[in-house]
Every structure is written in structure tokens, then in C-alpha cells.
């Protein structure tokens, strides 16, 4: 066998290498997810859904993530628009700061939140005066989720806004619409699919959030124990139950991803964008 490359000889070694690479990636990524379902009987899954603890964790996860996403979208969308359409001194620094939580370990995020918003934190006094308590409270879970998930949304939304052709915005202005009206009636509809993708990413990240929530809000059943925390709680004592809850989280996350893909595709088919 010779190892010399033979250009034009039609050796499919490169195509084979590409295929092997994809197979390895796919196998590695799918195997753990598959294992969860292989090790959980459908009966166990249904039984897990019957447990009040599981239901409580699931309810809390949905509640806190939905609230977090609503906050992220309402506050983050105008910010993303500004970052996408204006240039100002120090913009690259601002962008880096906004993206910083993406690379922070969740434990660091949790410590940071405690140091900032905890009772002895930077803003702890002010919050205390206003009778707002976040640590070990459901509100604290929402704060942790917003912190770790918002950069995912901001990045996607910013890219979506930046890719809108300038002439659409100019057209809106010359037709008599002010900046705010142009944002609502032109920019948001045209950036819709990117914004939806950002919501999906941020929501997925929030659903899986573990470290920052544990450190900042703790793990109290019914108050701060979201599904990932409940899974960890059972992991040492009741492995099959942890498996069943994991399976439920996989199903919820996968349906979320699928729903967003369908939503975006439906839009593309109707020719709404370009």
C-alpha cells in the first residue's frame, strides 16, 4: 500500500474521512441521550410524572424559564437593536462585556451574583431596604437564569438586526415613520426568525441551568429546585428516578428545539422574509 496522494485517481479517502468524522461526532453526541431512554422504561417515566416532587420541579422549571425569557426579550431586544445598528466609541468593549457570561463557569456566575445581589453584596443593602430578597427564593432562580441565558439571545438578535438591509429602514423613515415605529413595524418583523432562534437558544440554556442557580438560589423543593437540581438531588439516592426525570427534560428541550425549527421553516416557506 502506498500513502502517496494520487490526485485525480478518484480515491474516495477524503470523502470517507468526512463521513467517519460525522459518524463519530453523531455517535458521541447521541449515545448519552439514547442511554437515558434505554435505561428508563416507559412505565417508569409515567410513574415519575405521577410523583408530586417531579411535577413540582417541572412546574418550577417552566415557570422560572418563561419569566426569565420574557424579561430577556423585553429588555434585550432594544439593546440588541442598538448594538446592531449604531456605532459608538467603546462598542467592542460593550460587546465583549455582554458576551462574557457565555464563557464564565456557572459556579463563577453564582458567586458573582451572590457578591452583587446577596445580603452582603454590592447592592444587598439597597435590595434589603426595598424588602427584595433574591437569595434562596424563586426570584433568585429567575435572576440566575437571566444572567446565564441572556447573552445567547442578545447575540442572535443582534446578528438578525444587523443583517436587515439598510434600505428597508431608510424606506420606513422616508415614509413618515419615526425611529421607534420603524423598529416595531419593520426591524422586528424582518428579524423575526433570528429573534425566535435566539429565544430557543436562551430558553434551552435556561432549562438546563444548574450551577449558578444552585449557588445563588439553593435547591429547595418547590421554591428553587428546578428539574436539573432535582435530577442532581436524586442522583446519589435514587438513580432510576434521576434517569426518568432526565428523560422528561430531554423530551421538553427537544420539542422546544423542534417547535422553533418548524416555526422558522413555516415562515421561510410563506416567503415572509426576502
Amino acid at each position: 500500500m502506498t500513502r502517496r496522494a494520487r490526485p485525480g485517481s478518484g480515491t474516495p479517502w477524503f470523502a470517507v474521512a468526512l463521513g467517519v468524522s460525522l459518524a463519530v461526532v453523531l455517535g458521541f453526541l447521541v449515545l448519552p441521550v439514547l442511554a437515558i431512554f434505554v435505561n428508563t422504561s416507559p412505565a417508569r417515566l409515567v410513574a415519575s410524572l405521577g410523583e408530586s416532587e417531579s411535577i413540582e420541579a417541572l412546574k418550577l422549571s417552566l415557570e422560572t424559564t418563561v419569566i426569565a425569557i420574557v424579561i430577556i426579550v423585553i429588555v434585550g431586544t432594544p439593546a440588541a437593536f442598538l448594538l446592531a445598528t449604531r456605532s459608538f466609541p467603546g462598542k467592542s468593549i460593550v460587546l465583549t462585556l455582554v458576551e462574557l457570561p457565555l464563557v464564565l463557569p456557572p459556579a463563577v456566575a453564582g458567586i458573582g451574583l451572590l457578591a452583587a445581589l446577596g445580603p452582603d453584596g454590592l447592592l444587598g443593602g439597597a435590595l434589603g431596604d426595598a424588602h427584595i430578597q433574591l437569595v434562596l427564593q424563586t426570584a433568585g432562580v429567575v435572576v440566575a437564569l437571566v444572567f446565564v441565558a441572556s447573552p445567547f439571545y442578545l447575540r442572535q438578535a443582534q446578528t438578525a438586526f444587523a443583517s436587515i438591509d439598510r434600505s428597508y429602514m431608510d424606506a420606513s423613515r422616508t415614509l413618515g415613520a419615526g425611529q421607534a415605529q420603524t423598529f416595531i413595524r419593520v426591524a422586528i418583523p424582518l428579524a423575526r426568525s433570528g429573534v425566535i432562534a435566539g429565544v430557543a437558544l436562551a430558553w434551552g440554556r435556561a432549562l438546563g441551568e444548574f450551577g449558578a442557580t444552585l449557588m445563588f438560589a439553593g435547591s429547595f423543593q418547590g421554591i428553587t429546585q428546578t428539574v436539573p437540581l432535582a435530577i442532581y438531588d436524586r442522583f446519589a439516592t435514587d438513580f432510576p428516578s434521576a434517569l426518568a426525570l432526565s428523560a422528561i427534560l430531554v423530551i421538553v428541550s427537544a420539542s422546544l428545539l423542534l417547535a422553533v425549527k418548524l416555526l422558522c421553516r413555516g415562515e421561510a416557506l410563506s416567503g415572509a422574509v426576502r
Binding site: D170, R173, T174, G271, A272
Partner: protein, 357 residues
């Protein structure tokens, strides 16, 4: 004058520096090669960009005066603006695109008014269609209807014909002419095509690198181009050479590469010059034709291309410098023109314009 603009700005590597005036109901065509800064001029007038220095006045209203720090935002300027490629909102159907410019009307009247405008442009049947499903010609008409909906004090048209294929151009040109005839506002139209500018503009300003190099009626620009650039842009064949005075008040130009032509045009009579002649003024004769006509300029040339354009034939020629002649189909048949045949290209000294090189 109803619209006056004095603009001065650096945009990319172009130094924009110009002053424009347009009267009510008149159309000024800004014509020039791409990258000359034409679209930027429209943006500065509409207010979607701000120049370093400048003033824009519309009907005695000051839209922009950088010295007095006045800069009315675009929504306050009342400009009907047809964008290059039209910029129709892809998420709105045709009538909603038009109604977008009707913010001044009560909500209940907007649909009826939008439909009225679409009907005026012959598009009533497509009111509910999204831009993606409209043809190029239909999009152009929606864009015109939307710009008219604004009932602007100024109408700005950016390349209104260039996004169209040859088949729809004739009808679209007719539509634009109709709109121009009916509008009472001053109109500024941008095009890279001198023929379009001549067709649509009452006056043409030739723009090069951010400046007006010559302004006048299309026919006056073609008859007396002020520079080789304008001559070339108006579609003339431009030849370079060295001029010297000749008898009878004519000027003789020794062409670079060989050959001589005479011109009766006023212009520099010594030194390096450009002479220009329009393709339809060039007469093609067989090599053995007797030089008995009134054409003073005769250059032997070889045919390098023969292209039919509508009912005409454009003949590419190689003399000492390249030439283009435009003749009719029967004339081309009679001459038996094929690539490689040798002929005489001739034209009158009075059809030869002279500009400094």
C-alpha cells in the same frame, strides 16, 4: 426654485461637492457611472444620511443647514423616495406597503387610498400579493405608488428602471414618464444610463466622483460635451490624438496610433485632445468606394464584431483606435459585413466634437 441643495461631504473615497436646483414639476436626472456618489446625494436630500456641510431647502422650508445645526429627520422631510431595488417591505402585501406611507390619513381611509394609488398604476388586482410573488415590473409600480402615497414635496427616484429585464422596461419606462408628467413636485432621478437620463430627465447633470461635471439638456450634452468623460458617457466614440490648426478654421487631429481626422468644432486647437463622434453618425463604405461625399474623415478599419440591437446593428471596428458604428439591418446586409472584413468608416468634420484630453 422649489428644491435647492448644496452638499459637501466625504463618503468613502469620494469627495462630494455639489449644488442642485430643481423647479416644481421638473425632473433633474443625475447620471454617472456607479460609485460616482449618486445614491448618496439622494440620501443626503432625504435625510437618511447627513453631510459634513450643506443646506437643503424645500419650498422655503429648511430641511438641513449644518451651519445653523438644523437637520430634520427623514420622517419630517416629506420625500417620496423610490429606492434602488425598490426596498418593498417583504412582510407586507402590496397595499399595506403603499398604506405605510399614508400615516397622515385616518386609519379607516388608508386602505381605500392605497388601492386607489395601486389602481392608478394598473395594479389593483395585485393588492394582496406579497413582494416576493410580484414580477419586477409590478414591484416597480408598487414602489412608485408607495412613494406617491407620501405626497412628498420632492420625489426621488433611484435607478427606477435598472432592476428590470429588457421585456418589461418599455412598459415600466412608460409608467415612470406618466408619473413624472403628473407630479407637481420637483423630481431628482438617478441613473447610470445616459439614454435613461435623456428619456426621463428634463435636464441631465453628469456626475463623476461626487461632482457635477456638466449639466444641461440631454441633447446639448451630446452635441457639446465639455469633456472626454461626458462624451464617452453620452455614448460617443472617443478618440485621442494631438491637435493642430488647419486651413479654413478647422482643426486637424493626428490620432494616437495613426490616421488623421478634421473637426469643425470649437475647442483646443493644439496639444493633446479627444475627439468624439456618435456611432449613428459613422457611415460604413466598402474599401473600393469613391471618396466623393461630403464626409471629410475617412478611416480604414477592420470589423471585429457585429451585434444586432433591436432594429439596428452595432459594428465594432478596429482602426488605429477602436470605433463603434450603428447602422440598420438592410445596410449591414448590403455591405455583407462579417467579422474580419475591411471597410472605410467615415463621418463629417461637423459631426466631430473636440474636447481637451
Amino acid at each position: 426654485m422649489v428644491l435647492c441643495a448644496e452638499l459637501s461631504s466625504t463618503v468613502g473615497d469620494i469627495e462630494l461637492e455639489l449644488s442642485l436646483q430643481v423647479a416644481a414639476g421638473r425632473c433633474l436626472a443625475l447620471a454617472g457611472p456607479s460609485g460616482a456618489g449618486k445614491t448618496t446625494i439622494l440620501r443626503l436630500i432625504a435625510g437618511t444620511a447627513t453631510p459634513e456641510r450643506g443646506r437643503v431647502l424645500s419650498r422655503e422650508q429648511v430641511w438641513l443647514d449644518t451651519e445653523r445645526r438644523i437637520d430634520t429627520p427623514p420622517e419630517g422631510r416629506r420625500c417620496g423616495y423610490v429606492f434602488q431595488d425598490y426596498a418593498l417591505f417583504p412582510h407586507l402585501c402590496a397595499w399595506r406597503n403603499v398604506a405605510y406611507g399614508l400615516g397622515d390619513l385616518p386609519r379607516s381611509q388608508r386602505r381605500a387610498r392605497a388601492l386607489e394609488l395601486l389602481e392608478r398604476l394598473g395594479l389593483a388586482g395585485r393588492a394582496d400579493a406579497r413582494p416576493a410573488t410580484l414580477s419586477g415590473g409590478e414591484r416597480q409600480r408598487v414602489a412608485l405608488a408607495r412613494a406617491l402615497a407620501r405626497r412628498g414635496d420632492v420625489l426621488l427616484l433611484d435607478e427606477p428602471l435598472s432592476a428590470l429585464d429588457a421585456g418589461t422596461r418599455a412598459a415600466a419606462t412608460h409608467t415612470v414618464l406618466e408619473v413624472l408628467r403628473e407630479t407637481e413636485a420637483p423630481v431628482i432621478l438617478v441613473t447610470h444610463d445616459f439614454a435613461d437620463a435623456a428619456l426621463l430627465g428634463d435636464e441631465v447633470a453628469v456626475i463623476d466622483r461626487g461632482r457635477v461635471v456638466q449639466q444641461g439638456t440631454a441633447s446639448s450634452l451630446a452635441a457639446t460635451p465639455g469633456s472626454a468623460f461626458v462624451a464617452n458617457f453620452t455614448g460617443a466614440v472617443v478618440l485621442t490624438g494631438i491637435a493642430r490648426p488647419a486651413a479654413d478654421g478647422l482643426t486637424t487631429v493626428a490620432l494616437d496610433g495613426g490616421g488623421e481626422v478634421s473637426t469643425a468644432a470649437a475647442g483646443p486647437s493644439t496639444g493633446p485632445v479627444s475627439v468624439s463622434v456618435y456611432p449613428w453618425e459613422i457611415v460604413l463604405e466598402p474599401l473600393d468606394a469613391v471618396a466623393g461625399g461630403s464626409a471629410q474623415n475617412r478611416l480604414p478599419a477592420q470589423v471585429v464584431s457585429v451585434t444586432s440591437v433591436g432594429n439596428r446593428v452595432r459594428v465594432g471596428l478596429q482602426a488605429s483606435q477602436p470605433l463603434i458604428a450603428e447602422i440598420t439591418q438592410p445596410a449591414a446586409r448590403e455591405l455583407g459585413l462579417t467579422v474580419g472584413s475591411r471597410i472605410i468608416a467615415s463621418w463629417k468634420a461637423t459631426a466631430t466634437r473636440l474636447t481637451e484630453s
